[in-house]
């Protein structure tokens, strides 16, 4: 979405634009309005209509003039080319932008319509809520101190249990002797996957360095 807007709003806006545009174009194409906009044309047509049965040199010339105008007339005469070209250019640009926004996954403007807030404010405006009377009776409403904590934000911190050290399960110490045979070929460190997330960057770098060094040996 180009504006990060839900498609529903775009469809709604398009329907409104279509209706307004349709009414406006219908109004513009009204013949009476065309006549009003072209007083000369109106005079010619009205004169021709009122003198349709008169046959003389001048009226015949007038009829000929009307006919030649009718021949020259095309539906394109009613089009406003400038506005049509502007519309086409805008539509083309918007289409390109929409395609590009999908391709590169960007938004020009993030428009978020807080529907809940609007709904609540409309509801508050139209629906009058009865006033709640608070009573200092903890049997009915609970501890009165809890009322005060409804506003501040609560922060909860969860600590992973896996890396916790438990002192209950301690084994006896054992001695290990390393010889050439028994010395482990690969010495590696098993890391705690969860705690790895929290290791600083330098530790990772040191690990990589050690691994490289081992490979070289």
């Amino acid at each position: 979405m180009l504006f990060g807007l839900d498609y529903f709003y775009a469809v709604f806006a398009a329907i409104i634009y279509f209706i307004v545009n349709f009414i406006e174009n219908k109004r513009k194409l009204d013949l009476k309005r065309i006549e009003e906009a072209n007083p000369e044309l109106k005079e010619i047509l009205r004169t021709a209509k009122d003198n349709i049965n008169t046959k003389n040199l001048i009226t015949l010339g007038l009829f000929e003039q009307v006919l030649s105008r009718v021949k020259d007339f095309a539906s394109g005469n009613l089009l406003n080319y400038k506005s049509a070209i502007i519309k086409v250019v805008i539509v083309f640009s918007l289409s390109i932008l929409v395609i590009m926004s999908g391709f590169f996954n960007f938004e020009i403007v993030k428009i978020s319509i807080p529907l809940d807030k609007i709904k609540n404010s409309v509801y508050d405006f139209f629906v009058e809520l009865p006033e709640i009377e608070l009573k200092e009776d903890n049997k009915i409403y609970g501890d009165p101190k809890l009322i005060e904590i409804n506003d501040p934000e609560l922060f909860l911190q969860l600590t992973p249990q896996v890396s916790e050290i438990t002192f209950d399960n301690i084994k006896e110490e054992e001695e290990l002797y390393f010889s050439d045979e028994t010395f482990p070929v690969e010495v590696s460190v098993q890391q705690d996957l969860i705690s790895e997330e929290k290791k600083p960057f330098e530790s990772k770098l040191a690990k990589e360095y050690n691994l490289k060094l081992k490979e070289m040996i």
Partner: protein, 320 residues
Amino acid sequence: MPREDYSSYVHKIKDTFDQMKKEIHQVIIGQDDVIDQVLVGILCDGNVLLESYPGLGKTMLCKTIAKILDLDFSRIQCTPDLMPSDIIGTYVIQERSGKKEFQFQKGPVFANIVLADEINRATPKTQAALLEAMQEKQVTVGNETFELEKPFFVLATQNPIDMEGTYPLPEAQIDRFLLKVKVDYPLPEEEFGILEKYTTDKDIAKVRKLMSGDSLRYLQNLVRQVPIANDLKKRVLGIVVSTRKYKEWIEFGASPRATIGLIIAAKAHALINGRHHVSNTDIDAMAYPVLRHRIILNFKAEKEGKSPDEVISDILKKIS
């Protein structure tokens, strides 16, 4: 005529009038609206009253148009002692084969274009003599009526200042003028052009004859065939009726003759501008010259210095 020619016909008419305007501009610099309105008046077969301060080229414009149209032109300089017979003509005794008989001597009104210069200086009696000629296109002397040769129209001029010793045209007579054209001072750049033209060459540019009287008469008939939409007819009617109801500024409104005049003038304006139909532009353009002399403003308007053109503007805005 092939079908293709119908629509191009009006464009040919426009081209002809464009040529005429170009030719008039050889003599008259600027004053485009005035030239347009005078040509509309002529095309409508109507009479035109030109009003301006002295020295703005009214008489020269009328003469130039007469030359371009290849029509008979006569000029009457109106003065308080000008008699009706000086305009219409009179019977004179002439001797023919030993007999003396009365023969009608035609006056200057027997022309296609009559320029009545400073018409408001003539007495009401003389002004009235022009009435029949302007409206009926005929004159009556004694018991005899003489038809005037068509096309016939009167271009009259009057001066709005120096009103002493003048006889303002009565309403009945002023209504017979289809248009009242106001000639304003030229723009500075136009006046510079006038300066250049008339201070270097002694001879005034000659103009070509572009249209005959018959062609003009044909076009005058064609003007009435220009179609107009019913909506626009109603608008014209609304404008003229409003002048009668707009009591805030107007005492008396325009007559139905104004309604007819406005539609015909709008048709001619459309034709000159190469249109096959009347448009609102034509009506708006012709409402001022058609109505400005036909509305009488009330005392409140006079007191507040409101001009007829401002009142017409208000009405046009209301009835759009």
